[in-house]
Amino acid sequence: MSAESTAPQEPHARPEPDEAAYLAIGASPEFARLRAAFRRFVFPLTVAFLTWYLLYVVLSAYARDFMAEKVVGEINVALVFGLLQFVSTFLIAVAYERYSRRTLEPLAAGVVTGAPATGGARAADEEDAE
């Protein structure tokens, strides 16, 4: 939360960087850390929720006896499975919001404010960049 005041989305007062500056930022270790943190969270989660959703659709098409089994009263597996899709969607949204505020936004703030100073640090952290 301490990053609130230096949130990266406010480019006020800062002049628009030129192309070389973007390349320098892109090659900086701070940016590599941001990108890695972003991808580490977002890619596996995307694979997970798409798999979870497709499992639901596939079961709805091909495992109808299983989906028809009653759990409580008139509530069957299909309904529970469907409701769990809502729950997982809400939970992922909340988890991503927390991760953004705690991890991604501070990292992004570090990238931008640190950018001009890190031009020389490129080579040293090369392995960090991939």
């Binding site: 098409a61 109808r64 008139e74 931008v112």
Partner: protein
Amino acid sequence: MNAQHVLAAAAGVSKSEHRTITLVLFAVFVAITLYITIRASRQTRTAADFYAGGRQFTGLQNGLAIGGDYMSAASFLGIAGIFALSGYDGFLYSIGFLVAWLVALLLVAEMLRNSGRFTMADVLAFRMRQRPVRAAAGISTIVVSIFYLLAQMVGAGALVNLLLGTHGEAAKIGTIVVVGALMIFYVVVGGMKGTTWVQIVKAVLLMAGAVVMTVWVLSKFDFNLSHLLGAAADSSGKGDRFLQPGLKYGATDMWSKLDLLSLGLALVLGTAGLPHVLIRFYTVPNARAARTSVNWAIGIIGVFYLMTLVIGFGAAALVGSKAIMAQDKGGNTAAPQLAEKLGGGAGTTGGAVFLAIIAAVAFATILAVVAGLTLASSSSFAHDLYANVFRRGTTGERDEVKVARVSALVIGAVAIILSIFARGLNVAFLVALAFAIAASANLPTLLFSLFWKRFNTAGAVAGIYGGLVSAVGLVLLSPICWGGKSETIPKGNPDALFSTDTVAPFHLQNPGLFSIPIGFLCAYIGTVLSKERTTEKYAELEVRALTGEGAH
């Protein structure tokens, strides 16, 4: 005893009674939105005002507007209708519509907000040669938006007879013209600011209406979901099958099950490629607000779809499928009929009032959605096709906005004329087709642009046209156009566009299962066949997208 006879007998009285109330309520909604639009027009000066509402909306406001943009009549009346007539299968639709937002949240919203300005093509063309990519993206934007628009407007024409109890073609044409004229006014005069406020007002009304109906329905079943489900299953005459997947989707052979997968895939991948959804992310000041607006939208849309489950099953239990089918075979009147029933039944004042309220909300819903679609297509025409393809980036902002306003007028007029001609056709499939095109043409290019270093102009162009042509082409070969009886559709498709005897050469109604991989494949092949590399521009795009540096 027989509810249907009572309904039919009382219809004459209640129709005229609720029609007046519906028209008055709708007139109030129109008056409020016109006032808002005119106010918004005074604050619309720059291109950023017109295209992006000045980028001053909060996350909550934009989340509501996204909900207002997204929860179309197809989701409210259509999904409630599927629940009411086909039971569980309504869930397959609404869950796809909801989960899709995670793609937008995790992969698209913030990066688009950070790296684009006004349109989807801003991001797609960022690394590429501008003209070919903007032309392709502009065409795809306009095709997707117009298909979606036609579905909504023809739907409005069909609904008016059902909701207002009018008869004949004149009422249909009149409704299409009124809806079209209002949407043109919102967009031309109010731009993104006006459109956004219309969507916010609509979202609040729709949610309020749905909450009241949901609580009311649940109260009739002691707030016990199991009781409601049991009553719906009994009343449907289909027993437990009503509560299981398969009455509507994947009901027959292998193709029909694949069709369900195809639909699911298009729904979940389509949302993040719908241009009218994407441009909403530009209306907030920064990436964080774009993210919170998607989170609000997920909450609002998720709760809404949970409520459509209760409303749809409530209609099945309380109104009954016979009475619903008697009004509309597609079930689109299930929600309004339920409202009438809850209010006290046909012929009562309470019934007439609540029916009128829900009918007015349905029209408000349609208006907000069509305005968003018109804005998306006109801004893409002006910003992508006119300014960057025709004029090669030499236009001034004022000129561009003028063109956007004129093109909103033209696109709106074209949509009105097309809808009048198409009013007798069953065009509900156009919504699913719009999602399929968005998933096949727009999403592959968008994702490759943001995440694949090697991607280039040829790949972007090939991906967009490949996805677009394959999605539209497969529908032209599908049972939607050729309705002959087959194992997949034993009863044939009496609404088929070209022929009701010839068996379709392609068995799926939803092209997504094939057209989405084709879109990705075309984008890949186009890329590797071209020597162009955009590595440096990609580095810049990545920095902008992830940090917000240089964002507009």
